[in-house]
Amino acid sequence: MAKQLTGVGATPRSGVGTVIWYERESTVSADTAQEPSDDPAVEFERFETARNTAIEEVETERDRTRERVGDEEANVFEAHKQFLKDPQIESAVKTAVESGVVAENAVREAFAGPIKQFSAMDGMMAERADDLRDVRDRLIRILRGAERTDLSALPDGSVVFADLLTPSDTAQLSPESIAGVATVKGGRTSHAAIIARSLGIPAVVGVGDDLRTVTEGETVVVDGNGGTIIVGPDREAIKQYEAETTAAVTNSSVTTANSVPIEVAGNLGTPAEAPPAVKAGADGVGLFRTEFLFLDRDAPPTEDEQFEAYYEVCSQFADRCANNDGHVIIRTADIGGDKPIPYLSLDPEENGFLGARGIRLSLEEHTDLFETQLRALLRVAATDVGDSIAVMFPLVSTVEELAAAIDRVERVQTALDAEGVTARVPELGVMIETPGSVFLANAFAKRVDFLSIGTNDLVQYVLAAQRDLDRMDSYQDPLAPAVLRAIDHTTTAAENNDAWVGMCGEMAGDPTLTELLIGLGLSELSMSAVTIPEVKQAVKDTDTAAARELAETVLACETHTEVRAALEMEK
């Protein structure tokens, strides 16, 4: 029977790994031998040199923490820096070295009083005592020329066990390799807990002295949700928790357990978001929103400017798409009255969620903008990086609209040909986001290469609940049975007409729904970069027959509660 220890969950995720006991430098300062010094001046100079090094280290850690965690935690290091520069400490060290002790012991003596004083105070003041210990130990380590334990270079799958982790310790941890953290002391609001949380490292703090009964090399589960440490978990428990760990990045394309390929792609709002998506393992782009090109400026973007932006994203993904059979799906401008655009006169209501927006604007008032965008897209499609490009139209709800959009594409191609400009009509697709588009999915699928379900808008329109109204929050539920039936109708229509079907929207990035979505017949899932590794892992764990069964069970449900229960059963 596995042993279970209880503490406080600091990060709501869990991990499995091998224990490494981290002995902090405080053990160094436990040594109290009074070595006599030869020369007080030399000892004081050693202190000053060590202090300068310490300040440099603290500044580096401050910047690193600011970048990775945030200003608030970075400010801890600002306080450390001021403690290092404190004149009281300096004069206490001076007095001590003059009495004939070495710098190491002088530092220890200088900090002893203040640490005692702060420890006796309540709440936040007591935390300052931890800061002082951290500062003191840093100085002593530097004075001894001791190598600092490198927490940033631990083997993958390490679970760091420690008495207490200081902000400096925690800031070094790399979320990519650390499976978890557990400490004897500390609470949920300790700096270490806050930093672990921001880095997404599973953590349980304040376990107490029982933690010391666990020896290095043992396998443990760190369950940050339940606030427990499971020592020597059985296979069942490991499997359960492994599913919850942050999956490693997979750069190759993935298939389900029974070898059905699923494209896992990224959603982009600007070309700058392309490199992080590539890094997270995206096979392609499932939704490149082009609105950024049109917002915050006084005149519409030129054809060449757009060409540059699309070319840029396609080139970032050229290798990945070629290797992984990925696509770069670019959506034509989905402009509406919710975002003011100076050179277009849009009205919040007339051009609101139920007004003239998306493809409606492109086909009526702003055909000029639409044509310019299509020219840029068709030109990029014919370039060396344009093979994977696909274009999709937003907010289509009638066949007439779709036919008009396709007609426009063909006319643009003819015009470019006549001008002698190299261009190509890429794969075309439709966003499925209105009830109209769901009912007509068969008719759409006959006319285009692919459909892509935009769940955020689909939920809003199917349930007639505006997304930006607070009171409608409870309606924004992709697991509403009406929405699930709309998704099923769409995927079935695509399958019957040899079109492929993907999903972009929050729902696609939820790894707990991956199996269901595959069961519903989606072959491409597109999401923000952060969830790509976990969804890729979820794809690999899915068996399509079981997924289909799950989908059928869920589609038979008539309430959200039943849907949830069916999904829970599956876990």
Partner: protein, 91 residues
């Protein structure tokens, strides 16, 4: 030259505001001391993080700053700005 200032940041003279306060005090020639107004405690050096933090000044408390030196007024202005700055800790 002296000035009484009410401390605005909720956490008081603690962590970041304290570090900023001490750092600012150290940037001027004038010697500055700080003491709580509401309780009788001796004034401490404003450029010592240990001393300033040790006062345990909370948000809403008033402190008396005493500066002595050529740039006394400038340092008091700067310190008052630090003490009355609202910090956004929501991030």
């Amino acid at each position: 030259m002296e000035r009484v200032v009410t401390v605005v940041p909720e956490d008081g003279l603690h962590a970041r505001p304290a570090a900023k306060f001490v750092e600012t005090a150290g940037e001027y020639e004038a010697r500055v001391t700080v003491e709580p107004v509401d309780e009788s405690r001796p004034a401490v050096a404003a450029d010592s993080m240990l001393a300033v933090t040790g006062l345990g000044i909370k948000g809403g408390n008033s402190v008396k700053l005493v500066a002595d030196g050529d740039d006394a007024e400038a340092v008091l202005d700067a310190l008052e700005a630090v003490l009355t700055e609202t910090v956004d800790e929501s991030q």
